[in-house]
């Protein structure tokens, strides 16, 4: 009846929207729960979801009956890629358009622009002015939202199947027809500033997270927050948004993903009738961002905030993403993240929380779904009376142990089982399926990469896990962030 008391299943993949302190920034948020979703945990849950760019199409030898749906992929003449994921269990469709543009594609000085434009995309077009799209959804009972990350920007609607042609028409129109006015842009910028206040300014953990990312990326724009640096965000205007829109919003830079009660023939016909009429309006070259030099320095940042009632530590390493990794490395990093830091069987939790009584929580994650070199994170919150030095020494020892001796066979098996099973669980949720494909195709992966994922995870060996731990979890590749109530007096002045 209410949002109280519903079970939260542990593990990945069940929810994805409205998290704070993460790199996915949804457009709107309604629930009280999301209002209260102040960063309680140091590890953004979204990383968990996108860490597993899992496959829907199970390989032979997977669980019985787990073949999954027949997924189609094709392109229109104007360059729009289309993915169709049939799921006929309910007469419902999830319709998503993903643009291959995110905050890492912004020009320097305009941080936050990709996300700001995402908000402004709801303001209407020539043909459908003043939010007529949203009003239509509000009438037919459709859900809608949008999200921005460093690499992609997505828009979606969830609707009864017979409204699919309607939303396709609206979304195709919005691809090039946006109209912004001097009247409707400034209030939306205030909205985004409130979003910044909610997600970042009010949350010490999120503030530290921004500093860690900024210190980790010396040259690559992944170092700046998706929501933007506030002084730059305050100055973004209508012209900035429209220029960005004209440059990146074009069918040849987009992926349409439709999941649910549809057939591929029907989608192809509708797509040609709607999106097919939108002319490509910009040449999209390769996505070249400034890359990271080889990291050489162990870095630490400390953020003090009088509201910190529970200190914590978070560390990020610069590691290859699924797209930049050598064959097998990204999969091994997935398994490593699982063994090292996922849940109560993980090495970090067992050692720091259960055995040594140093931390209230501890874990790790790998955010592998990225176009350029990505992040591997570990975190822990000390028990009262435990120093950061003691906590960090224990954390370092856990990592060193894996880098030296690798992992046990049962750990490897459990991790693989869980990662591959996530692909089956995903089949239960058309929106999850749509997101996996959309995120993969907008971060440089191919369809084959997605569908072969379980097979590649199956192929990970204990030696490979040891090797990636050794190669990439080198402290010189990392930034460690400490969240404290106040700085030691020696650090306040220098």
């Amino acid at each position: 009846m209410t949002s109280f008391g519903w079970p939260r299943v542990r593990g990945c993949g069940r929810t994805w929207a409205h998290r704070s302190g993460q790199r996915t920034v949804p457009f709107r948020s309604f629930s009280h729960r999301s209002l209260q979703a102040a960063a309680r945990r140091l590890r953004p849950a979204a990383f968990c979801i996108f860490a597993a760019v899992a496959a829907a199409v199970m390989v032979a030898g997977g669980p019985a009956g787990a073949e999954g749906p027949q997924i189609s992929h094709f392109s229109l003449d104007n360059g729009l890629e289309v993915v169709v994921i049939p799921d006929h269990r309910a007469p419902v469709v999830t319709h998503m358009v993903w643009y291959k543009v995110g905050s890492a594609d912004e020009q320097a000085g305009k941080s936050g622009l990709a996300h700001f434009l995402e908000h402004l995309m709801f303001k209407g077009t020539d043909k459908n002015p003043q939010g007529r799209f949203s009003q239509t959804l509000a009438t037919i009972g459709g859900q809608e939202n949008a999200f921005t990350t460093a690499d992609y920007t997505g828009y979606f609607q969830r609707i009864a199947r017979e409204y699919l042609p309607t939303v396709m028409e609206f979304e195709a129109d919005r691809m090039t027809g946006l109209v912004l006015t001097e009247a409707n842009v400034p209030p939306e910028r205030d909205v985004v500033l409130e979003e910044y206040n909610m997600r970042v300014a009010n949350s010490p953990e999120a503030r530290l997270g921004e500093q860690v990312a900024a210190a980790l990326y010396l040259n690559h724009p992944y170092g700046r927050p998706v929501i933007g640096w506030r002084p730059e965000l305050e100055k973004l205007n209508r012209e900035d948004a429209l220029a960005f829109y004209r440059r990146f919003y074009t069918p040849n830079n987009a992926v349409l993903v439709i999941a649910g009660d549809v057939t591929v023939d029907e989608v192809r016909r509708l797509a040609e009738k709607t999106y097919g009429k939108v002319a490509a309006r910009a040449e999209i070259g390769p996505r070249m961002r400034p890359q990271e030099p080889a990291p050489v320095a162990v870095r630490q940042v400390t953020l003090a905030d009088p509201r910190v009632a529970q200190p914590s530590l978070q560390r990020s390493y610069l590691v290859p993403s699924s797209t930049t990794a050598k064959a097998g490395e990204s999969e091994a990093l997935e398994v490593l993240a699982h063994v090292l830091g996922s849940g109560e069987t993980s090495r970090l939790y067992r050692s720091l929380v259960v055995e040594q009584h140093l931390a209230t929580t501890a874990g790790g994650w790998y955010q592998g779904t990225a176009l350029d070199d990505a992040r591997f994170g570990v975190y822990a919150s000390p028990l009262p009376g435990v120093t950061f030095a003691a906590l960090e020494a224990a954390l370092d020892a856990v990592i060193a142990e894996i880098a030296e001796h690798g992992i046990a066979a049962d750990e490897l098996d459990r991790a693989k089982t869980r990662l591959v099973a996530d692909a089956v669980y995903a089949q239960d949720n058309q929106a999850t399926m749509a997101r996996w494909y959309g995120a993969a195709l907008t971060t440089g992966a191919t369809m084959e990469r997605v569908t072969s994922w379980p097979k590649r995870v199956h192929g990970v060996t204990a030696d490979a896990v040891r090797d990636v731990a050794r190669a990439w979890l080198d402290k010189r590749r990392s930034v460690t962030g400490y969240l404290v109530k106040e700085l030691p007096s020696t650090e306040k002045h220098s």
Partner: protein
Amino acid sequence: MIAGPRSGFQSRQLGFLSAVVSVAAVLMTPPAADATTIERIVSPGGIEAWLVQEPSVPLIALDFAFRGGADQDPVDKPGVASMATSLLDEGAGEYDSKTFHERIEAKAIQLGFSAGRDHAAGSLRTLSANQDEAVELLRLALTAARFDASDVERIREQTLSGLRRETTSPNEIASKRWWSTAFPGHPYGRPVRGSIQSVPTINVSDLKDYMRRVFARDTLKIGIVGDIDAAAAGKLIDKAFGDLPAKGNLVAVPVAAPQGLGQKIAIDLDVPQSVLMLGGVGIPRHDPDFMAAFVVNHVLGGGSFSSRLYREVREVRGLAYSVFSTLIPLDHASLFMTGTATRGDRAVETLEVLESEIHRLAESGPTEDELTKAKSFLTGSFGLRFDTSGKIAEQLVQLQLDDLGIDYIDKRNSLVEAVTMADVKRVAKRLLDGGMLITVVGRPPVTAAKGG
């Protein structure tokens, strides 16, 4: 996700589910059930469950709930229910915590428990191939949780760590102050996860006592969805729940109404964004006016991007990212709540907008156009609650907790359609004109606000 009632169904356009009131003898003579029916099954052991068969994905989703959550906590020990449910997967039967988690992990099972104000709930997701192990682990967790001292201390420390964080969270401060002010001396006035004072005093006998009183078959509600037939589902629920005692022993909780309406409590906290929380008397789930109230709430601040609060607070004035209103029909009180968060120097203005919109809707009710669109949205979106096994399992449990009947989803949209303009005008007044208790956390404090 939208906090609020999850009930009703769109059958005109989204006829995924339709109810089949099945019989107790289902296990002997399974009906011709397919993926579009809800079956009421009764296991050989006499336990009722609602089932939706869905063989196309090799998964089983099982949700369940017992009456009795934090409202059953001892008066001086809030947090018992929350702590007990947090410990159910920390070792049970012969498996210590580590072994228990490893067994879950080895079969990629998802198992979770939680306690809310009125209920304890659980959720199991498993590949159908692993159902035997999944159900055995569930059975152990429900009937033989160990509460080993080291695990109790670990969960206690985690809880305390979370509570320490909450001491400086504006959302948590606003919420806790609201509930403690609205329900003095009532279980709803106590914090669900306990307090920094209470959690250290909770001992194993408190946890075991809570389990004994609450985890019993007489208030158990079960929903199962997935790759399983009625006969197998009957065996499964007997195995999982058959060892529970037949009867629980709940402390009676009095019906209560929120106190302090008309009060405004300003709490000073140095944060860039102030949090506003307003709550008043709602409408009970079985009240004839409930559905009209549901429509009124939608018009004011419910789920679409066209609500009055959304437009006035966010779109026109840019005051907030998130603004909501919701009906919260608890077992022992009915509430209506709204809230938002805005920069400190505009908190007074934002509160005025909220109060003025509430007042305006109470006085004049929705327009014809708003009423039409609200009904259309609420009927049209209903089917979106039924497109995954997990969501359907949640719905099956909720329908039973609400005692709405197995045919409710067939009737629900006609109940929405039946709401008239006279209904919403009357109910808008009833719902929105009773005054609100307001908590605002931020700086500067909002004591200068007019009205209240």
